[in-house]
Amino acid sequence: MPRTFKATVILIVAICALALLTLVNLFQTNSAERTVLDLKKQVDLLNSSSERILKRLDDGVAVQGGNGSQGASDGNADKYAAALNEPGNLLKAAKDLQIPADAKMGGTLRNFLSDTPKGYNWLTENSVDVSNIQRMVHSTFARRDFSDPDTWVPDLAYKVEVSPDFLEYTISIREGVYWQTPAGVDFSDPKNAWLKEPHELTSEDCAFYYELIQNPQVEAGAIKNYFEDMDRVEIIDKYTFKVIWKRRTYSSLETTIDSYPLPKWIYSKDETGADLAPETLGLKFNSHWAAKYALGTGPYRLVEARAGEHVILERNPGYYGDRYPIERIKYLIVKDPEAAYLKLKADEIDVLPGLPANRFKADILDAKDGEAPFKNGQLEHKVVDVFAFYFLGWNADGKFFSDKRVRLAMTYALNRQGIIDNVLYGLGSIQTGPFYYKHPAMDPNVKPFPYDLEKAKTLLDEAGWKDTDGDGVRDKLVNGEKVDFLFTVTSYDKPEVKSWLSVYKEDLRKIGIMMTPQPVDWPTMQKKMDEKAFDAYTGGWGLSWSNDPYQIWHSSQADVPKGSNRIGFRNKRADEIIEQLRIEFDEAKRLELYHEFHRLLHDEQPYTFFYAPQSIAAWQPRVKNFVINTTRPQLYSLPWWIDADAEGKKSK
């Protein structure tokens, strides 16, 4: 190999020169490229507006300039409004999501997602990020009013009627609602032309959803459970269908109407537009090619999604409902909450639903006036209830916690308020029962047990746990064998859980109980819970507005492998209440049952209910009318608006 020094030097110089030339070339063509991009954009804009006009002409509605929000459904508006006053209609007029009169239209909301959505098959994908997008892009038949969660308000459906035996739901949907066109498709290719044709939402699409849930090949584990008692769905006409249940269950109402149609015109086809074979339809649906398009009928439509970068939504021009102020929403993909906070401070995003706890302490609690961004008006914040609660679950089938006095003693020994104030910086409120702590189902007369070690000692003595050998640890004869009160708490490996467990451990040591925290990762935790291989565990349940205690508290669930009643709670009266709640439709009676159930659990302490967490929502002051809903999704950006003039006091 020739290895002359000069050759090497020349080669290096040549490479450098080439690189330089490339850069110069880029610089020269830059302005031309920009012009091309701008032109392309204009052409796209022109195309889409001319299409919209053509579509309206097709629909036979006169084209009105400017205010086009009402679209084709204008003619039926009166009918929909009148339907809300019909006595049989379960839906009431909405009072929420009001747009203030001073709201400015337009602007971009810069939000974030923790991961790129894995696909937009609304039925099989139920990760948080996908459902965030779904709420913006798609609509359900009816939804709970955010300001009054016990009433149902119309969305796609304008009328829902139920037969007197609560078995048949008849749902009438709006006419003239069109599916959004898939984004990111190359329509210049004639093979894709069929994707662009307008498709009206019909009861076929609605029925398709229920049919797929019943299809044994479809992988929709979580949702399928709800539909176990559903019998069938019947199409009555183009805009009306009927969902029929096998037996009367209270949850059937929510399950039926808090659902959404699926675009049958695309999910029953393969990529070329040919019909899928019915015998493999379900399997194909699980990984359907069209899942990469977010197809809905909602207020926004997805215009661009780049993996790991961002997802961009724009207002759906064909939306049938109100025109919401924000024009576009750009979700950046940010995995790390800490990084999201940096982005908020750097004015790269507008909203952060949960400030990291240490930042809350440093930048809000301990910050001096004028220094931190929250004190000088650069950012705003508010405490938001998280729809969840945390608890310690006691294995009632184990040797320690079958006695309710022991469980009660464990609750007395847990310094709940102290831990909330000192470990969690006050971001939580004591939980006393299994529902959301502000929900009417909670009996207001139930007061939390105080932190009282003396009381705990007495209860343990009563239960027969005494320190007989003077080693500082209580013991008891169980089945003729002396057992020391040494147990482990299996917990999900999270810093704040570890720190409050160490507080608890110290308190338990004072009353003669040795507790060992055992932090494990999630799969191990899941396995241990499934196998009931724990003395006690720390856990959390996410909550929703509707409460069906069956899955967690019914005794039958304690004997189902992998059931949610992991602690083995078996109580006759509780079973009766739960079964009654499943078929009772009278709200007053339900409330009574709920209250009794709450009192019963409080008395039995199968869990030591710990706290309902709170988080800090933070946002830029340019976001106005920052309404926070009582129920999930609490940060629903529809009524917000952007004040482009109000810049933060940021000097960048």
Partner: protein, 508 residues
Amino acid sequence: MATYIIKRIMLMFPTLFLISVIIFLVLNLAPGKPTSSSVTAEGTQDSKSSEARESYRIFKEQFNFDKPVMFNTRFLLTRADVFEELRVLGDFARPTCTAANTPVNCLNADQKPKSGRVIEAQDVIEDWGTYVVPQLVEIAQTDTRVDIRKLAINRLSVNAKRRLLNEYGKSQTPEQRVFNREVAAENELISAWTASDQVTMPEIETLMAEKWTPWFASHGDRWNWDMGDKASMMFFDTRFSKYWGNLARFDFGVSHIDKRPVLDKIMERLPYTLTLNFLAIFFAYLFSIPIGVWSAYKQNSPADRVVTAVLLAFYSLPSFFVGLLLLNWFADGDPYGLFPTGGFAGQLPAWYGESPASTADMTTMDYLVSASYHLLLPVFCMTYGGIASLSRYARTGLLDTIRADFIRTARAKGLSETMVIVKHAVRNGMIPVLTLLGTMLPALIGGSVVIEYVFNIPGMGLFMFESIFARDYNAIMGVLLISTVLTLFGLLASDISYAIVDPRISFD
């Protein structure tokens, strides 16, 4: 030389195969299973997302998790094996005897099988699939316990279902369609032949006589296997052979998480990692060689010591920590907002112009500026550690040659000092440093989990990290196999480069 290279490449195949077997076994035998259940960021679960058996079965079937890992001996299962699993399930469902009340057919608490065992029995018998149909039929026909017969019948209605042909493929041939239609019809039929919870012995007898016994009589020959069938089952109806069967067609499979092809997902992330790591390696070499040469030349001078100390200090600083500090100081506007807080591209520096809504609206030039703006901090974090170690290599390499005889000769020849160092000493002294480059090839695509997480760059490191947590076997296998191949080639390249750069080394 050519013989050597060919020999090395031939050796790569068995090496690669062995490595992949090891990875495959470790992955599949590691505790934990891929499931759909997940936990939210707050560590809470929704009570709704409990597992639905049938969905999970379909999931297992699609990804061959119902198959044994390496060898399939299910054709050897006997009635007793199947009975034992059914007994566990049956006993678990029986009521518990207590002192106060002893329901019919009760079992003492200590005799009841443990939950872990029940879950296992459920999985085991489900995974056995069609292999145990004859045993199940026999149990359902002749067993003495009603509950066991009931379980056997209900199991049959699931296990006797046959799989469709090429059901996940893009399209099926007409013959496959015909077969699939027939199988789907049969599956639907038998899935209804179940027994209710309160079934009685006579009812079971009728159900068997009317449905299952005639069905088995007419289809029983499906289970008459000869030696050839058994051998092919043993070796080919396994996860390993299914995986390799696909791999032979360069099909890495689809990810469990979003059912997208693994290769697509890798290709989506590769550009980010490649750019980042290429720049990091490039700059590490660009700076470390001059530093190394300079400090070797000034060996043991105070300046050399200071540089050594500073580089050692840099080397000791963990990059994720430095990354966070840099972000906190220079990115969030408190005190400085000089850089974006992460990401690969998207924002433009203020002096350049306004950032467009999406990178799609950027010209190539804009994109280049934006990417460099975003990558400055992460590349710095990845580079400074490398500079420290590489410059030490360079220093040692040069020190080894600088005392060699040919350097003295060069000086004696009257060459200028620069010429001596740059032309004669450096070229020979840098051989070890250059050959290190070969081993860095896999690092190019491996990615750095920490840096990618801190700077929010959607690269391979993060992909691997997430896949491991989600137990996404296909994705992990895909990434590991690609980086194995690259490592093998990297090692080969580094060996060859030795021979090219240093004529004293020869492989012939």
